[in-house]
């Protein structure tokens, strides 16, 4: 047996497949990975510290920049926690708008994941197809709130902008468009022998391991757990909709792919139902004091973001600014398991497994 020297390989922070500024210090023996140490913090902006000097409305745009692929859910995580602490009533129309944009954002986020994941594995075209469809969601958001990525759409007590005339119909048309479109993706990717061989049986996460590392989102659900906060701790209006939580069997990358693809379909179902139930008239802002003083106390609320459980922990001392604001960022939790998954794999699987976790570095580093 030939003895070879181990080699230290620096992957990132500028590498096409680390999805941002993640750095991995990888020790490899040939192409086998012996040890991995993720180095994060390149995008740390101190959101939590900044938030302590800002009032609650001012914090909302900062949340946009954490998980920039799904800013709507981030907005919601914050305003939901504040509303719960203040015991505010949200007008129904605003709540429906929130659900619609959150689910559309989930779809957009999963489409980006699907596209970039296939790009990691070496297929170019699905990326552009995914972006073509995501573009329509971004256009819808653009029309709704004037931004394509950092929406700053939600406010404590409601939403900032009402749906412009015809917007709901456009959203409805988009749902009708995307549902059959999913077949195209499945035709292009799901049955592809190379894709299946690169993902099946790779990066397996057992349920026990997933819970031990507090994974959430699709990362947890592939291992067989049906943990979805929209079902388990329904917030907003999620108890009014019929939808399933896709669950994986093997916990491998292929299941993650199928799970997320199915989640797109389920989100489309929710959007469809929300549009059907959408109230014709109504206000979009509840009765909210001009200065938001959150009563003294402490709260932790979690919502289901596309990446997993996005939690918001607020400690308030009764002022208009939080004493301590902490976000439980799903990517941060999900990334932790990476070294465990990678040891013993080959370099080519590194990219596949890392991509499968679906991290957003803005969120990891916060």
């Amino acid at each position: 047996m030939l003895r070879t020297e181990e080699m230290l390989l620096n992957v990132g922070p500028q590498h096409p497949s680390t999805h941002g500024v993640l750095r991995l210090v990888v020790k490899i023996d040939g192409e086998r990975i012996v040890e991995v140490e993720p180095v994060i913090g390149y995008l740390h902006r101190g959101t939590e510290k900044l938030a302590e000097d800002l009032n609650y409305t001012q914090i909302i745009p900062y949340t946009d920049r954490m998980d920039y692929l799904s800013a709507m859910t981030n907005n919601y995580a914050l305003v939901h926690a504040v509303e719960k602490m203040m015991g505010l009533e949200i007008p129904e129309r605003a709540d429906y708008l929130r659900v619609i944009v959150m689910e559309l954002n989930r779809i957009a986020s999963h489409l980006v994941w699907m596209g970039t994941y296939l790009l990691d594995i070496g297929a170019m075209s699905p990326f552009l197809y995914a972006f073509r469809d995501r573009e329509q969601i971004l256009s819808l958001f653009n029309e709704l709130c004037g931004a394509r990525l950092t929406y700053n759409y939600m406010r404590v007590g409601g939403v900032k902008w009402d749906a412009p005339p015809g917007w709901i119909e456009k959203a409805d048309a988009f749902v009708d468009y995307l549902l059959p479109q999913m077949d195209e993706y499945h035709g292009l990717i799901t049955g592809n022998e190379i894709f299946v061989r690169r993902t099946k049986g790779i990066g397996i996460v057992s349920q026990e391991l997933a819970i031990q590392y507090a994974l959430s989102g699709a990362n947890l659900r592939v291992s067989g757990s049906d943990w979805d906060l929209r079902k388990k701790e329904p917030y907003s209006l999620y108890d009014r909709f019929q939808f399933d939580v896709p669950v994986g069997k093997n916990g491998d990358l292929y299941d993650k792919y199928l799970c997320r693809m199915q989640e797109i379909v389920e989100s489309l179902k929710i959007v469809k139902q929300a549009i059907d139930q959408f109230p014709e008239k109504g206000t979009i802002m509840g009765k909210v004091p001009r200065v938001l003083r959150v009563p003294e106390g402490e709260i932790y609320t979690g919502i289901e973001s596309p990446r997993g459980e996005l939690g918001c922990h607020i400690v308030s001392k009764g002022k208009d600014k939080p004493w301590r604001l902490k976000f439980r960022r799903p990517s941060f939790y999900n990334l932790q398991i990476l070294p465990t998954l990678l040891v013993g794999e080959s370099i080519s699987n590194l990219v596949a497994i890392l991509g499968g976790i679906d991290i957003v570095l803005g969120e990891v580093d916060c």
Binding site: G41, H44, A214, Y300, G302, F332, I337
Partner: protein, 191 residues
């Protein structure tokens, strides 16, 4: 601006503790929380398994959806954590959130635990003094605590004893100070 704020804050901070128990006393007897028996059960179980001294406080956090909240003495925290995870009645196997809080006079490390089998939640708090703050690490109980403890160490300077790899995670290794402490002086005040 800032100094003015601080001046204002100081007397209020003193006034508050005396005010709050009064309102609580008015409310609590009126509508006992539905989670009160659950909390009592947790407290008895922990006291039975770890010791009477382990639980220093407990209450129901009403704003957070009647979340049972238990303050554990930091010396008993590791044993309590192991018990919470492994006992069959509780089996809090999922670390939902881990946050550090600086209360200006002491630190608090807040754990939100969840049991995947019973779907029960509990908030555990462990207090640490400000000088040479340290809390036992629970990263071998919940693997998810590993990076979170590093983050709290990074931003608060709370030492987690027996942590396998305690070093800064978000900030560069040569950073001076702990930004999320309330007395943190930023290098450049304009920022």
């Amino acid at each position: 601006m800032k100094s003015e704020d601080e001046k204002k804050e100081a007397p209020r901070a003193k006034a508050r503790p005396s005010k709050r128990p009064v309102t609580k006393k008015e409310e609590v007897p009126l509508e006992p929380s539905p989670k009160q028996p659950v909390l009592d059960q947790y407290v008895t179980l922990i006291k039975g398994a770890v010791g009477e001294q382990a639980v220093s406080e407990s209450h129901i956090n009403r704003e957070a959806g009647h979340l049972p909240t238990i303050v554990i003495r930091k010396e008993d925290w590791l044993a309590t954590a192991r018990y919470l995870k492994r006992s069959d009645e509780l089996s809090f196997d999922y670390l939902q959130s881990l946050a550090g809080v600086d209360y200006a006079s002491y630190f608090e490390v807040v754990y939100v635990l969840l049991s995947m089998s019973t779907l029960q939640k509990v908030m555990i708090k462990v207090k640490a003094e400000r000088e040479e703050a340290s809390v036992p690490s629970v990263s071998d109980v919940w693997a998810a605590a590993n990076w979170n403890e590093r983050e709290i160490f990074d931003l608060f300077g709370i030492e987690f004893t027996d942590h396998p790899h305690l070093k800064r995670i978000l900030l560069p290794d040569n950073w001076v100070g702990y930004p999320l402490r309330k007395d943190y002086e930023p290098l450049d005040k304009e920022v």
